[in-house]
């Protein structure tokens, strides 16, 4: 199974936009996304231990809900850059089914071409992806019970 291209429109937009930018501009682009995400309300009650991702140098929270059989994610962080990165991840991969999310790999993270910014961020984004995949599986299990 492959993911239908129309389900990855936002991801493709990020890939194209980042592809046109040099490294310094990419850095600023992510900050801009982080700042824009800051203006979208994130439920304060979800900024808790249960929604927190561990192992980050900043705090990252991801909330999840369902729309049909697609998983929707929203992310938050106390650092602007990380907020930008988590927004890119949740924006790129919301709406996918559990199976489609399961198909995403490190190649999709690499596709954003952020590796040159620093390895740390690529590793962090892979951790975000794995967290989203885990949330989708937990959600499916809860629904099945």
């Amino acid at each position: 199974m492959t993911i239908a291209p129309e389900k990855l429109t936002q991801y493709d937009e990020y890939v194209e936009a980042l592809d046109l930018l040099d490294e310094d501009s990419r850095f600023e682009y992510i900050i801009d996304i982080g700042k824009r995400a800051d203006k979208v309300a994130f439920p304060a009650e979800c900024m808790d231990e249960a929604h927190m991702m561990h192992g980050c140098m900043s705090k990252v929270w991801i909330v999840h809900d369902m729309e049909g059989d697609g998983h929707n994610f929203r992310g938050q962080s106390d650092a602007i850059i990380v907020k930008g990165l988590v927004s890119m991840m949740t924006g790129s991969f919301s709406g996918l089914t559990t199976a489609e999310l399961g198909e995403l790999t490190l190649d999709h993270v690499r596709g954003l071409n952020l590796g040159a910014l620093t390895m740390q961020r690529q590793v962090g984004m892979m951790a975000m992806l794995k967290h989203m995949q885990k949330l989708s599986r937990i959600s499916d299990l809860a629904a099945a019970n």
Binding site: E23, D24, F27, E28, I31, M57, S58, K59, D78, A79, I80, I81, V82, T118
Partner: protein, 422 residues
């Protein structure tokens, strides 16, 4: 990098002939690198320092021409390398002014050295209910080994408080020595705040009560002159890689009478006198505590690092770093939006800070874009972060090869962070 070298000399902190930072920089090949198209400004030496050519060459020479295993080899290579390896023990002993090289135990790092003391001295001489006194500014390496011992035999972990400047509260420390305290284990210089603790007073107060003292010298060995006899310290530990040497080698110095009473740490080759299935007898210190093939090449590297530092002169390094610290502190304060943690009168060139209203990660990421390497987070000192009331800080830890021009690069990048995130 030439501009940086020139500026450093023009800054007036170095008297001609006394300390030539431009020449020293040439000894560290990595300092010629560019990061994100900009000259590397390495302010993460507190985590691990860069290596001078002397260390790299010494290790390469061993690997290329002299390598074999040490001890008991009946051939030329083994005997010559054993002499060199054991010679490093003497180099370390002289560096610390230890009475004897037999009091120098080679470990993997500071963490292993502290675990060794906890597992041997701790298990043999501490009992349920005995107190181990540490400070409120310890690295996890000097917290967790004692917690493991607490879980195993029921010791009590006691914490000596610090004030808001990061200065140890000596009155509270003295009061905590009374009662059940049987061992003091304390940082000699905080990896987060840079605070130098008044070691002689700490040790004197403990010894008045018959309590031995372990000092964690991971940072102090880089930024100050160590004399274990003058300190009268019972155990002193440090790691090689922060002292411009390689990773995977550390040192435990111990008083001879204590080491003699301590049981082995790990079992294996090299640490035994004889082995039968019925009974094994152990070597005398230091070998009793060094099971298995030691870090031979790393030891040669550490010896070269100590020779390098000694040749430059610790007093000159300290003077240079003191000038850098004063300049960096002044420049950070001038920004007006910096909260600096650690303002003890006696401190090393370690600057932990946050930019008001900006997450430390965002600050550090902006510094990285400018080629400035700093550490961000909790610096393996979560309890200290809780004491300071922050989730984390940015830490710029300076070394002998840094310059005032590099500090200017950091300040400029901090101004950019204010523009980007303010």
């Amino acid at each position: 990098m030439n501009d940086m070298n020139q500026s450093a000399n023009l800054a007036g902190h170095n008297v001609e002939g006394a300390f030539d930072v431009a020449r020293i920089r040439q000894d560290f090949p990595i300092l010629g690198r560019q990061i994100h198209g900009k000259p590397l400004v390495y302010f993460d030496s507190g985590a691990s320092a860069q290596k001078p050519r002397a260390v790299i060459d010494a290790m390469t020479a061993v690997l290329e021409n002299e390598y074999t295993n040490v001890h008991r080899g009946a051939h030329y290579l083994s005997q010559t390398l054993t002499d060199r390896y054991e010679g490093v023990r003497g180099t370390i002993a002289r560096f610390l002014n230890a009475p004897s090289e037999e009091q120098i135990i080679i470990t993997r790092n500071t963490t292993e050295a502290i675990n060794l003391v906890a597992a041997t001295y701790g298990r043999r001489f501490l009992n349920k209910g005995d107190g181990v006194l540490i400070s409120d500014m310890e690295h996890h390496a000097n917290i967790v080994p004692w917690q493991l011992l607490r879980d195993e035999i029921g010791i009590e972990l006691k914490i000596a408080p610090i004030d808001d400047r990061g200065v140890l509260d000596l009155d509270a420390y003295a009061a905590l020595l009374d009662g059940n305290t049987k061992l003091v284990a304390m940082t000699h210089c905080s990896n987060v705040l840079g605070t130098h603790v008044p070691a002689k007073e700490i040790i004197g107060l403990a010894h008045e009560r018959g309590i031995p003292v372990l000092l964690d010298g991971s940072q102090s060995v880089v930024h100050s002159r160590i004399d274990v006899q003058d300190l009268d310290v019972d155990f002193f530990v440090f790691t090689g890689h922060k002292l411009y040497g390689p990773t995977a080698i550390g040192v435990l110095y111990g008083k001879a009478e204590l080491l003699a009473k301590m049981p082995p740490y790990q079992g294996g080759g090299d640490m035994i006198a004889s082995v039968t299935y019925e009974k094994t007898t152990y070597e005398e210190p230091p070998y009793r505590f060094e099971a298995g093939t030691p870090p031979i090449v790393e030891a040669i590297g550490l010896g070269a690092a100590i020779d390098y530092v000694t040749a430059i002169g610790m007093d000159k390094i300290m003077a240079h770093e003191k000038a850098l610290l004063a300049y960096a502190t002044e420049q950070l304060a001038a920004l007006g939006d910096i909260r600096l943690f650690g303002t003890a009168p006696e401190k090393a060139a370690i600057l932990s800070f946050v930019q008001e209203g900006i997450h430390p990660f965002d600050t550090a990421a902006t510094l990285d874009r400018a080629g400035v390497a700093v550490r961000v987070g909790q610096h393996c000192a979560e309890p200290l972060m809780a004491r300071l009331g922050v989730d984390g800080t940015v830490r710029a830890s300076l070394a002998m090869y840094n310059t005032t021009a590099e500090i200017d690069v950091m300040i400029e990048a901090l101004e950019r962070a204010r523009t980007l995130f303010g």
